[in-house]
Symmetry: C2
Subunit: 570 residues, 2 copies
């Protein structure tokens, strides 16, 4: 490609709206442009990188035995009602009425569509296993689109779906895709961990999130360096505390204190000069619409995913002001377990709290010296909080750390969540009808590029691995008015193309060498071939490795070999 004939609008300054480094670099390097909130155009260079990511995904999915197809974005709403997800997906799904009044959704995901498709077509165990996938555009009306293509309203996803005769075979399909994902992210040069995760809206028992640790990550994961345990904080179990010894003599007398306007645990702890670990938070939730109380230590964070799973409820929503008043008789921020007529679930760590501060269920009042078993009772002790870095590894008991991460892929074991309502069954070897067992598997294709850039750059710009680079090599003729330079650069360009190298020549006549060097570093082509007059006079050209920044002068007849060597190690 000739740079002058392409459309590579690089930018010197960081775009104002960008928070994430990858977003800034993608705009500056001329990879993307924002069209509207959460919708980006992939410019020619960004598009090329995207296609390379897609190729890697396609090769590995095909090698894993998955077969590609393409489903529409337009989906009839009836399918979502059939699986019951219409009621839970909420505003994130874009819906509209067509000219005939039919309600249509813009697919945020395709479990319903693929299950309905397969339902009519597979009949026998001989049609299984079946793994289908697509690389297709998804739509989500994000509350807060951000970080460029990382959280956008329109994005490209590779979504795959497996169909098996039983759980044992589903595990095999799951493993094949899991391993394909590992190969994909390795080939893309993206650091990742496969963390155990909560299946959430997708349903099913177990899932894995493929996560790239990054400061801008919107998810938190737990990592154990001793045993390799990795899990989403949503799911990471906490080693059950032993529970306090009953030392009744330590119990103080419970009494009411005035805590004017102090409605958070932190405010109360500061105001009463007690440790935050001795303030009890009482959260009023609606669990499938029924009110419950959940007790959490002041310095801990409630883990709604774990509570939901433990209580086996579909929805868990914090009660609003009005409902809190109705259920507790008090005010928002002053709830407590004493005298509360609701099912009370307490986190295990609450067992150790002696003489705790709790809400009095009266506005502006708390109780001190509250003790469970004495002043209030707990219906059930559960694991209800988010793990902290002070907790032990759930697997080995070793030290853990919490990091934020970008989710780049997710694998789910769905079981019969979709095949059941859609009635997908086949006949087994004995002619018996069997419900099909499903799995589903997603990769955010856009996020591959953004995550790569988040984790692979320097102060001058992006550092692409060869597999994803928009072009593998850039040729930069330095002295634009020198015929010899122009001629040799052109000759090299044509010979590179003949050799099948993915090359661009920076033939922009209006740009100085300085600008060309800066742009080459900013975009991050793995190899730069610099053709200058002085070196040419010695029959040499300069070759620069973007990753190391090292340059070497090479005999102009050996350029291709040297370039190939560099491409092989990058």
């Amino acid at each position: 490609m000739r740079w002058s004939r392409s459309f590579i609008p690089t930018v010197k300054e960081d775009p104002q709206e960008a928070e994430a480094l990858s977003h800034k670099l993608m705009v500056r390097a001329g990879l993307i442009r924002r069209l509207t909130a959460g919708a980006y155009t992939y410019l020619p260079l960004g598009f090329k990188a995207l296609k390379k990511a897609e190729s890697i995904i396609r090769e590995e999915m095909n090698a894993a035995g998955a077969v590609e197809l393409l489903m529409p974005a337009l989906q009839p709403i009836e399918l979502w009602k059939k699986t019951g997800r219409y009621d839970v997906i909420g505003d994130v799904m874009i819906k509209f009425k067509d000219r005939h009044g039919r309600e249509i959704a813009l697919g945020p995901t395709h479990e319903e569509v693929i299950t309905a498709l397969v339902s009519g077509e597979i009949k026998s165990y001989k049609d299984l296993p079946l793994i289908l996938y697509q690389i297709q555009t998804k739509f989500r009306d994000e509350l807060r689109p951000r970080f460029g293509v990382i959280r956008s309203c329109e994005f490209i996803m590779k979504d795959a779906y497996s169909f098996d005769i039983d759980a044992k075979n589903m595990e095999k399909s799951y493993k094949r895709i899991y391993e394909a994902y590992c190969r994909i992210f390795e080939r893309c040069g993206i650091p990742y961990v496969a963390a155990q995760a909560d299946p959430g809206l997708m349903g099913g028992a177990v899932s894995h999130e493929f996560m790239t640790p990054s400061d801008i990550g919107e998810d938190r994961i737990v990592l154990c360096s001793s045993c390799g345990y990795a899990a989403s904080t949503e799911i990471a179990a906490i080693k059950n505390d032993k529970g306090k010894e009953e030392i009744a003599e330590k119990y103080g007398d419970m009494r009411e204190v005035l805590t004017l306007g102090k409605s958070t645990a932190l405010d109360v702890s500061t105001f009463l000069e007690v440790d935050l670990t001795n303030v009890l938070k009482t959260l009023i939730y609606l669990a499938d619409s029924k009110p419950i109380a959940v007790l959490i230590r002041g310095d801990h964070e409630a883990n709604e995913a774990k509570i939901k799973n433990r209580l086996k409820v579909g929805t868990l929503i914090l009660a609003g002001e009005e409902r809190v008043v109705e259920e507790t008789g008090g005010a928002m921020g002053f709830s407590g377990p004493v005298g509360l007529d609701l099912p009370i679930y307490a986190d295990h760590s609450v067992k150790d709290m002696i003489n705790a501060v709790v809400g009095a269920n009266v506005r502006d009042k708390h109780l001190i010296n509250a003790n469970h078993g004495k002043n209030y009772n707990v219906n059930e002790w559960i694991d209800a909080r988010v793990i902290t870095s002070q907790d032990a590894c759930p697997e080995c008991g070793g030290d853990i750390k919490l990091v934020t991460a970008i989710e780049i892929g997710h694998t789910f074991k769905l079981g019969t969540k979709y095949s059941d309502p859609m009635n997908v069954h086949v006949l087994d070897e004995n002619g018996k009808e069997r419900q099909v067992i499903m799995g589903c598997y997603g990769i955010g294709v856009n996020r591959i590029l953004a995550s790569l850039i988040e984790t692979s750059h320097d102060e001058n710009g992006i550092i692409w691995p060869v597999g994803l680079a928009p072009y593998e090599v850039v040729i930069i003729p330095v002295n634009k008015n020198d015929d010899h330079v122009t001629r040799e650069a052109e000759k090299l360009y044509l010979s590179f193309k003949d050799e099948g190298l993915d090359v661009v020549i920076d033939d922009r006549s209006q740009k100085s060498p300085g600008v060309k060097f800066k742009d080459a570093d900013l975009i991050g082509f793995p190899v730069q071939v610099i053709v200058g007059k002085k070196a040419l006079d010695q029959e040499k050209v300069e070759i620069k490795d973007r990753r190391t920044g090292c340059s070497t002068l090479v005999d102009k007849n050996n350029v291709i070999d040297k370039v190939r060597d560099l491409l092989n190690v990058n």
Copy 2:
């Protein structure tokens, strides 16, 4: 690919909802499935053919110097208001409000988006010419989706946009894309004509429609076999008739006759026993909201595109009942030019009408012996009708024929229709600001497959050209329980793959040879390699050419050469 591991659900019976042959065959051959009105899933085989069409398009567009990018489907409505197309596009554009109340369109086309994109980025004549394209999903809320993927609500389009410094250079870009289109359709094996066409909503002066003649075509084109003239009937000019001689002595006396309920020209002609060519139709239009009358001979059809262009109006709408009564004083179906107080435009052919029957502007009454110049006056004689096969070729005067056709591509010279409101200009060599001249160019990728099938099939199924075929070769082991057959078929399969042939092996254990042969013909793989026991005993396999239906026995060691020979001629 192993058939048993893919997802190729062939069907014996024609699907009930399908009208077009291509639609029937695409469903039966397991290429597509309908999800909802106008939205289809491409199954693995359909997807592969689609990707092959895309590859051909991509190669030719790149060779023409166009550069690929990818724009979002989500478009802010403001862009459509800026160019004024928001008011004219109507219900075909899908719109919805996002959770923040912003009105968003699902792009039916991308002139606005690409122009806004380029606007901020190109500055100098050195940035031009620029041709950008994408292969991307479009959305249109079709009134009547039909013919499978031919007229659907979600479809894949290759849309390209050219930017040039002046009209002369735009012509060069236009010619490059025009020629690329010819190569694309030739490589896809689709018969086509490039017909002159009306630019319509796109705007600009001249356009070409690439049309595949077909019975199910929704457009009509004029073809001249003498000079090669090809045009849409919307635009095909009619050789100006000389006009009648003034033979006033032939004029009868005009008088009123009762024509109870006869409100169409045909009804009136039958009822009064006069030739249809002597009944005058008077059509009341609102041209940019102003009422006008257009006179057309009874057997002719008004051509609204030509009238609109001639009158230089943005909208031309037939007046409704109420408005007709208001403007003529009479009733719908009984309008006439005599005493009518509206601007009257008459088609040239009306000049020859002597003693015509015209509406009386009174319900249930017509006038006979009406003559222009005597009983009514025409403000302007224009070319206002659709050409017929009785007319002469507008270019050479030779015989023409009218055929229906499927539009598979369209090229437009846009001029400054978009660069003007979007303010896209560059500095020329003299530092002077110049408005950029644009062109735009579309190909319906889905329609390539459907048009190919419409024009290339036999009673057994589809006949693919090698370039588009889902697989080039199918290997059919006939005797599934014979180890020798299975082993040799497998060996061939692996050697074909090694040779880089695009091959599928029909390893379905549950299917009879008859079903396999039928499916192979139905899907239409160009070459079938049939491995049977009897032939194998003579060290031979059978090779069948799908197009000719001819089979030959070939030494099993020469199979690859023979297959390659066949692929080269198909």
